[in-house]
Structure formats: structure tokens, C-alpha cells
């Protein structure tokens, strides 16, 4: 069972994305805040992280960097409202494993995760 950590301050993600992934046999952890998310990350060492960059307490980019330091084997997928160009200049240098611009279809995220994991094995 894949461990998935969702860090997003959107209440919707907890209400909808969490059951969506659970139905697809992920073990889903959820946090709306960066600090808390990092704690869960350190404790659970999830396989995949869905990270929103616009967090209330921390800059998403810092969260990403710290995660890389704590446990480098997690796949990190960025969910963002930025447009392509901003992502190219701001996000990609940080080395996420994938990114999606909001709004995105969750099953595409699911497909992407599966692709990454199987590709890795």
C-alpha cells in the first residue's frame, strides 16, 4: 500500500482528494499546514507527497527543500496555481518529481503516481 501525504490548505482536498485516493488503495495522510506536514513526513516517510505551494504558515518551496533533506526517496508532486512559465523559472529548479497546475483532474495525478512508482521499480 502506497503512503500518500497531501499538504494543501484547501479544505476541499481533505474532503474530496483524500477519499478519492483512499478508494484507490492509498494510505492517505493529510495536512493543511507546512509545519505539521513536515512532521508527518518525517514520521511516516511517505512514498508520494502532493504538495501545494501556497501554504498559510510556510513557503511551499521551503517545505519542498526540507523534505529533500529529511528523506530524499519520496516522490514529490507539486500542485500549483502558477502558470507554466512561472513554474519553469521558480519551481523546476527545486527538483520536484512532477507538477500539476490547478485545476487538475485527480485521476491524472493517480495515473502519474502509478507511472512513477512502476517506472522506479
Amino acid at each position: 500500500m502506497l503512503k500518500l501525504l497531501i499538504i494543501d490548505d484547501e479544505e476541499m482536498m481533505e474532503r474530496l482528494a483524500k477519499p478519492f485516493f483512499e478508494r484507490r488503495s492509498y494510505q492517505v495522510f493529510y495536512s493543511a499546514k507546512g509545519e505539521e506536514g513536515l512532521q508527518i513526513f518525517a514520521k511516516e516517510k511517505p512514498d508520494v507527497v502532493l504538495l501545494d505551494l501556497g501554504l498559510p504558515d510556510m513557503d511551499g518551496k521551503d517545505v519542498l527543500k526540507q523534505m529533500k533533506d529529511i528523506w530524499g526517496k519520496s516522490k514529490i508532486i507539486i500542485l500549483t496555481g502558477f502558470n507554466e512559465e512561472e513554474i519553469k523559472t521558480n519551481i523546476l529548479p527545486l527538483g520536484p518529481d512532477a507538477y500539476f497546475t490547478k485545476p487538475c483532474k485527480l485521476h491524472m495525478v493517480d495515473e502519474k503516481i502509478k507511472e512513477m512508482i512502476t517506472g522506479n521499480q
Partner: protein, 740 residues
């Protein structure tokens, strides 16, 4: 020592020097040569008279009297000679020769005989001529020639049309008249009449006037010239005469020397003071005008709008100076030329008047060279050599003169600010075809200076407005970008929620089971989900466009890429069609860009912005027309369908893009101001029309222009009429080389 002799000596020397001066100005000119003869003859007469007056014995006086006639005989002849050569009367040249021969062989010999000068008279001023019985013959000859000269001049004066020549001839006529009167007085004592022969004053005056008329190409008013001369004589007669008289009468030479020193110091001041007073009396009307203009020029600085300013100046010039035509040309940075801004009377608005002049034009080159007023008639007399020396490239004075005629100028007053020619005043003929005097030029220059300052001021204000608008513009765009980014983020999150809910509806097993159990609901359900998804996708696109549109522009050319015109226009069309508030599908949009048209080197986003703006403007114009027709049913056009046509063609490596609409169009007034920032023809009070991002704020077309210019291109409005639509032409250069 006979003091009465001194004026004659002075007059004699003065006349000779004057003749020499005029001769040296132009040794080859026939009028100048004849003037020298005239002046020399007069000089011999005056110096001879001086000797006569100084003579100790009657015998000696008689001898000098005879010598005097060596000059006197030739005075009338050379006067006639001068008149003929000045007026260029070739046909009378033979008479000149004949009269000279007559003078040399008849009158000169006769004058040396007792029949001519019978002896000597003695008056209070000294010895004087005594006429013999043949002398009246000479007087007739004298009167005949003088009259002949006079008639010649007078006929030419009547015929003459150019003010300068007219004034010159007028000078000569008056000069001759003065000499005639003075000369006649000198002959009276010859016949025993005791009148002091003050002829030397009028002779000196006559010759001065003539010399002035020959040498100077700009003549002052004759009234003024004579008054000045008169004042000069009176002042200096007093300054020099009084001490002399005192010294002579009371033998107080030492005191009188002191007195003379004091008076001589005061002389110039008295002269200037009297001259000023006399001017005020002589030119009461003119001074009033000048005063009006002077006061007017002070008020100019209060006006802040160039067009109003130029109109006002032109109006005031016509009213006050009563000139036939007045106009203002101002420098235009954009076109690098001097453009006709305002003129009067409007009847003169025929197309023959040149509307603009460039720095390459001879007239402008001449203005830059002279840096002072130009008078049409004087151009032919300008010292050409000087101009050639100063300027490496030769100025064709004839062309300049021709151009002056073409713009209807008799006088041009330039206004320079440091080294820049800001513009110039153009003035037509003066009332009664009179000449422009130094005073006119001086007051006009004052006016022009004030005008230049005021115009500079108002131009500065416009510049300031534009800068402010640009600042406003960039700030606005930056703010908008920031806002769009932040809001886009938020909206995207909402959209994510909607998306996810839609997905959940399909994905959620409970709902899924329910749908499965109710097949009749499935179609409607699928349709609704599809509708939600579609709209979310559209909304996403709009937000992304908004964000890219509003992003602060980087306009550096090194970021330019080769851009396919069709692609950028298609993209722009795509964007405007996304605007659900604008029903672009209700109008016909026709775009035909030929295949294989060269790419443009530029910034894609910016060019896209240009076309988005153009399309939005056209749309708004169409919407406005639709609205207008709705309220004007009488125009009976129920089937109005808006269209926008974009066509392009390539001419000599330039892409010409025509954007035509059949919207509300513009009046000439709006057309003129279209590219001025903050100007909008859209009814901003009625917020309905202010619906686009930039349109309606008045920045739209200005932004377009700025961007197009940043691409070395140009935008102009080719054609527009109220209710008929508009046609814009954007010209952009084809890309020169391939970008990496």
C-alpha cells in the same frame, strides 16, 4: 577766422566720406559709382564755399567761387546719372553721357567766365557769389535735370509693387526734394537776397538718406530717418555751436572748451532721449499696437494648451498688426518636421500652402544659419558669401525664397531655444503693403520669445502627461499582474474544487451505484458533468490568459523572436473570443493573412496584446453602433451586422496590416486625439462600454502605439467617419535575420 565757413567744411568732408563709404561697399555697382561722383561734386562745392567764406580778399573769393563750380556743374548731372542707374533705366544712359559732355564742354567753361560769375557779394556771413547773366541758364539746366530725376523716380515709385523697393525710392524722392529746397536757397544770395545759405544741411541730409537707402537692405521708416537726422543736426549744432559761438564772441576759449567737453558727453544722451520722444510722437498708433502685443505676450504663459496658444497668437497678430496672413509652424518630434499648427485668415487654407517643412528644406536650413528673422525681399540681398563660409553645405537662397513664397511669408520670425528651432511665426504682407520695420521685427521677436516659452511649457505639460500616463500604465499593469496572479491562484483553487467535485460524482461509489441503478438519469448526469468540466477548462484558460496578459512587459529587443503574424493574430482572436462578455460570435470576423508572409521580429505577448486591443476596440465600436442604431430606428438598418476584417500584405519588407471595422467610427476631432493617452472616445460615463481590460481607459491605443513603435513599426488611422467605421493600418518591419 570766419565761423560761418565751418559748417561748409564739415559738410564737404562728410559728403566725400559718405561717397567713399558707399563706393567701397560695392565698387562695381553703377548706382554706387554715380553716388560717389555726386558726393564728390557736392564735396568740391562745399569745400570751395568754405574757401570762399574764408577768403581775405574779393579777388581770392572769386577765384574760389570759380573752383566751386568744378563740382557744382556736375551735381545735377550726377544726380540724374544716379537716378537712372538706380532705376536701371538703360534707355536713358545715352542722355547721361550727353549731359556729362554738356557739363564738361559747355557749363564748366562758361562757369569760369565773368558772364557766369560777375563778382562777389558781401554778406554778414562773408563773401558770396554774384551771378552773371549766364548763370540762370545753369539754374534752368539744374532745375531741368533735377526734375527729370524726380519724374523718373516718381514714375517708378508709382509702378513699384514690392514694399522694400518702394520705400527705397521714397527715400530717394524725399532726399532729392530736401536737396532741391536747400540748393535753391544757396542760390538766392547770388542775386542779392540776404538769406543765409544753409543748403549744406539739406545736402548732407540728402546724401545721407541716399547713402542709407543704397547701403542698408533694411530701411527704417522715412519719417523716422528724417527726424533722427534732424535731431542729430540740432543736438550737435548746439553741442558744438554754442561753445564755438561763446569762444568767438567773448573770447572765452578755455571756458568754451570745457563747455564743449561737457556738452559732448551729454550729447548722445540728449540725442537718444529726443529720438525716443520723437518716436513716441511719430508712431503713436504703432506704439499702441506694440503695447498691446507686449501685454499680450505676457499673458501667453498662462495658456497651457498648444493649439489654443497658436490660434490665439495668430488671431492677435492679424487683429493688431493688420497683416494679410499669419501662421505658426511648430516642430514635431515624431515626424521631425515643422508643421503648420494654426493660420489665419482661414480663406488662405488652399492646399498650395506647405503644411510642413523638414530640416532638409532650404528655408529651415537658412533659418538655422541666420538664427534671426527672414524678410522675403531681403533674401536676395543676403550676404551669400557669409552663409557659404559658415555652413559646409551650401544653402540655396533662391529655393529658400521660393519656399517662403509658398508658405505665404513676407516675414518669418523664428523662435530658438538654445540650439533648437522650436518653430516660427509666418507673417504675410502688412497693411498698405508697407515694409516691416526694425520696430516691428523687434516686437514680434519679443512676442515670439514669449510664445516659444509658453509653447515649450505646454509641450512639457503634454510630455509630463504622457509620462504620467506611462507610469500609470506600467503601474496599472504591474498591479493588475499581481492581482491577477493572486486572484488566479484563488480562483484556480475554487476551480480545482469544482473539478474534484465533478470527479467525485463519477468516482464516488455511492453515487456511482445510484446512477447505475437509474439509467434514465445517466445521460443527463454525464452531460452535466461534461458541462462542468468544459466550463472549468474554459475558466482555466481565461485565467491563464489574464495572467500572461497582465504580466509586466519586458520590452528589450534581445528577447525578440521571429513571430508568425497569422499565429499571433489567431491567438489574439482566441483570447477575445474567450471573453464571454463580448459576443464576438455575433460579428463576422474575417482574417486573411497570405501564406508565406515574412515573420516579424518581436515579442509575442506584446504583439498579441496589440491585436487583442485592436479587436476589442473594433468590437466596442460595433457594439456602440448597434446601440446607436437601436435608439435611432429612423436610420432603418435592422439587419446591421458588424464585421472586422484583418488583412495583411508585405511591401518592401514591411508588413502592412489593415484592421477594418464597420462600427461607430470617429469624427475628425476624436481622430486627431486618438493616440494621446487618457483620451477615449468611448463613453466612459456609461460604464457599459468600458468592459475590456484596457480599452475605455484611453490607454489602449496609446499602449498599442507604444508597443508598435517599440517594434520599429507604426500605427495610423487610415480612414474613419462617424457611423461608417474605421480603418487602422499597423506597419511592422519583417524580421531581418533568423533568431536563435
Amino acid at each position: 577766422m570766419n565761423l560761418y565757413s565751418i559748417p561748409n567744411l564739415i559738410a564737404g568732408i562728410f559728403c566725400f566720406l559718405l561717397g567713399l563709404l558707399v563706393f567701397l561697399k560695392n565698387r562695381k555697382s553703377s548706382p554706387n559709382i554715380s553716388f560717389l561722383i555726386m558726393a564728390t561734386s557736392t564735396s568740391i562745392w562745399q569745400i570751395g564755399t568754405f574757401a570762399v567764406l574764408l577768403s581775405k580778399t574779393p579777388q581770392m573769393a572769386l577765384l574760389f567761387c570759380r573752383i566751386t563750380y568744378w563740382g557744382a556743374v556736375f551735381i545735377p548731372i550726377s544726380t540724374y546719372h544716379f537716378a537712372v542707374s538706380f532705376l536701371k533705366k538703360r534707355d536713358q544712359k545715352k542722355f547721361v553721357t550727353m549731359f556729362y559732355l554738356l557739363g564738361i564742354f559747355i557749363f564748366l567753361p562758361i562757369s569760369q567766365t565773368d558772364f557766369f560769375l560777375y563778382g562777389i557779394n558781401k554778406y554778414f556771413w562773408g563773401y558770396w557769389f554774384k551771378a552773371g547773366f549766364l548763370q540762370p541758364l545753369f539754374l534752368v539746366f539744374f532745375a531741368f535735370l533735377t526734375t527729370l530725376s524726380f519724374v523718373n523716380l516718381y514714375i517708378s515709385y508709382k509702378k513699384c509693387v514690392t514694399p522694400l523697393e518702394r520705400l527705397r525710392i521714397k527715400f530717394l524722392l524725399i532726399a532729392l526734394f530736401i536737396a532741391y529746397i536747400g540748393g535753391s536757397v544757396d542760390f538766392l544770395p547770388d542775386y542779392g537776397v540776404t538769406i543765409y545759405p544753409f543748403g549744406y544741411i539739406s545736402l548732407a541730409m540728402c546724401l545721407s538718406l541716399i547713402a542709407y537707402a543704397i547701403v542698408r537692405y533694411r530701411l527704417m521708416d522715412i519719417k523716422l530717418a528724417i527726424t533722427r537726422f534732424g535731431i542729430f543736426i540740432v543736438v550737435y549744432a548746439f553741442v558744438l555751436g554754442l561753445p564755438f559761438w561763446l569762444g568767438y564772441r567773448y573770447h572765452l576759449w578755455q571756458h568754451s572748451t570745457w563747455l564743449m567737453a561737457v556738452l559732448a558727453t551729454m550729447g548722445p544722451f540728449i540725442y537718444l532721449r529726443l529720438e525716443k520722444r520723437s518716436k513716441e510722437v511719430l508712431y503713436k498708433a504703432e506704439f499702441k499696437r506694440y503695447e498691446t502685443l507686449r501685454r499680450f505676450s505676457k499673458t501667453l504663459l498662462l495658456i497651457k494648451e498648444v493649439d489654443q496658444l497658436s490660434k490665439l497668437i495668430v488671431y492677435r497678430l492679424i487683429k493688431t498688426l493688420k497683416v494679410s496672413y499669419a501662421a505658426i509652424y511648430l516642430y514635431n518630434k515624431e515626424t521631425n518636421s515643422y508643421v503648420l499648427r494654426s493660420f489665419r485668415p482661414s480663406v488662405c487654407s488652399d492646399n498650395s500652402k506647405i503644411k510642413s517643412l523638414t530640416k532638409e528644406d532650404e528655408l529651415i536650413k537658412l533659418l538655422f544659419n541666420r538664427r534671426r528673422e527672414l524678410i522675403l525681399e531681403e533674401l536676395s540681398n543676403l550676404p551669400v558669401a557669409k552663409i557659404e563660409k559658415n555652413e559646409n553645405n551650401y544653402i540655396n537662397i533662391n529655393h529658400a525664397q521660393e519656399q517662403m513664397r509658398e508658405i505665404g511669408a513676407t516675414l518669418i520670425i523664428p523662435h530658438f531655444l538654445e540650439n533648437e528651432l522650436l518653430g516660427f511665426l509666418v507673417l504675410g504682407d502688412k497693411e498698405n503693403n508697407a515694409i516691416y520695420t526694425e520696430e516691428d521685427v523687434s516686437i514680434l521677436s519679443t512676442l515670439s520669445n514669449s510664445a516659444a516659452l509658453a509653447i515649450e511649457n505646454s509641450l512639457f505639460l503634454i510630455d509630463l502627461k504622457i509620462t504620467q500616463a506611462q507610469l500609470f500604465d506600467t503601474k496599472r499593469i504591474a498591479e493588475l499582474g499581481y492581482m491577477a496572479s493572486a486572484m488566479g491562484h484563488e480562483i484556480n483553487n475554487r476551480l480545482q474544487a469544482i473539478y474534484s467535485v465533478a470527479l467525485d460524482l463519477v468516482d464516488n461509489p455511492a453515487i456511482y451505484e445510484y446512477i447505475k441503478a437509474n439509467p434514465q438519469a445517466k445521460d443527463a448526469f454525464d452531460k452535466d458533468i461534461a458541462f462542468i468540466n468544459e466550463n472549468v477548462e474554459d475558466a482555466t484558460k481565461i485565467i491563464n490568459e489574464l495572467k500572461s496578459y497582465a504580466r509586466p512587459q519586458e520590452s528589450q529587443k534581445q528577447n525578440f523572436t521571429n513571430i508568425n503574424l497569422k499565429e499571433v493574430i489567431d491567438k489574439a482572436v482566441g483570447i477575445v473570443k474567450l471573453q464571454s462578455i463580448k459576443a464576438f460570435n455575433t460579428i463576422s470576423l474575417e482574417i486573411s493573412i497570405p501564406e508565406g508572409i515574412s515573420p516579424i521580429s518581436g515579442n509575442f505577448i506584446q504583439l498579441q496584446q496589440v491585436f487583442v486591443n485592436m479587436l476589442n476596440n473594433a468590437y466596442d465600436a460595433i457594439a456602440e453602433k448597434r446601440e446607436f442604431l437601436l435608439h435611432h430606428q429612423e436610420m432603418n438598418t435592422p439587419n446591421f451586422k458588424g464585421y472586422i476584417k484583418i488583412t495583411a500584405k508585405e511591401v518592401k519588407r514591411m508588413l502592412k496590416i489593415h484592421i477594418v471595422d464597420n462600427g461607430i467610427g470617429m469624427t475628425g476631432e476624436i481622430k486627431k486625439r486618438l493616440f494621446i493617452p487618457l483620451y477615449t472616445s468611448k463613453a466612459t460615463a456609461d460604464r457599459k462600454t468600458e468592459r475590456t481590460l484596457m480599452g475605455g481607459t484611453g490607454i489602449g491605443l496609446y499602449t498599442i502605439q507604444t508597443i508598435v513603435k517599440g517594434h520599429d513599426g507604426n500605427i495610423e488611422i487610415a480612414n474613419t467617419e462617424r457611423l461608417k467605421g474605421a480603418e487602422f493600418i499597423i506597419t511592422l518591419p519583417a524580421a531581418r535575420e533568423k533568431h536563435k
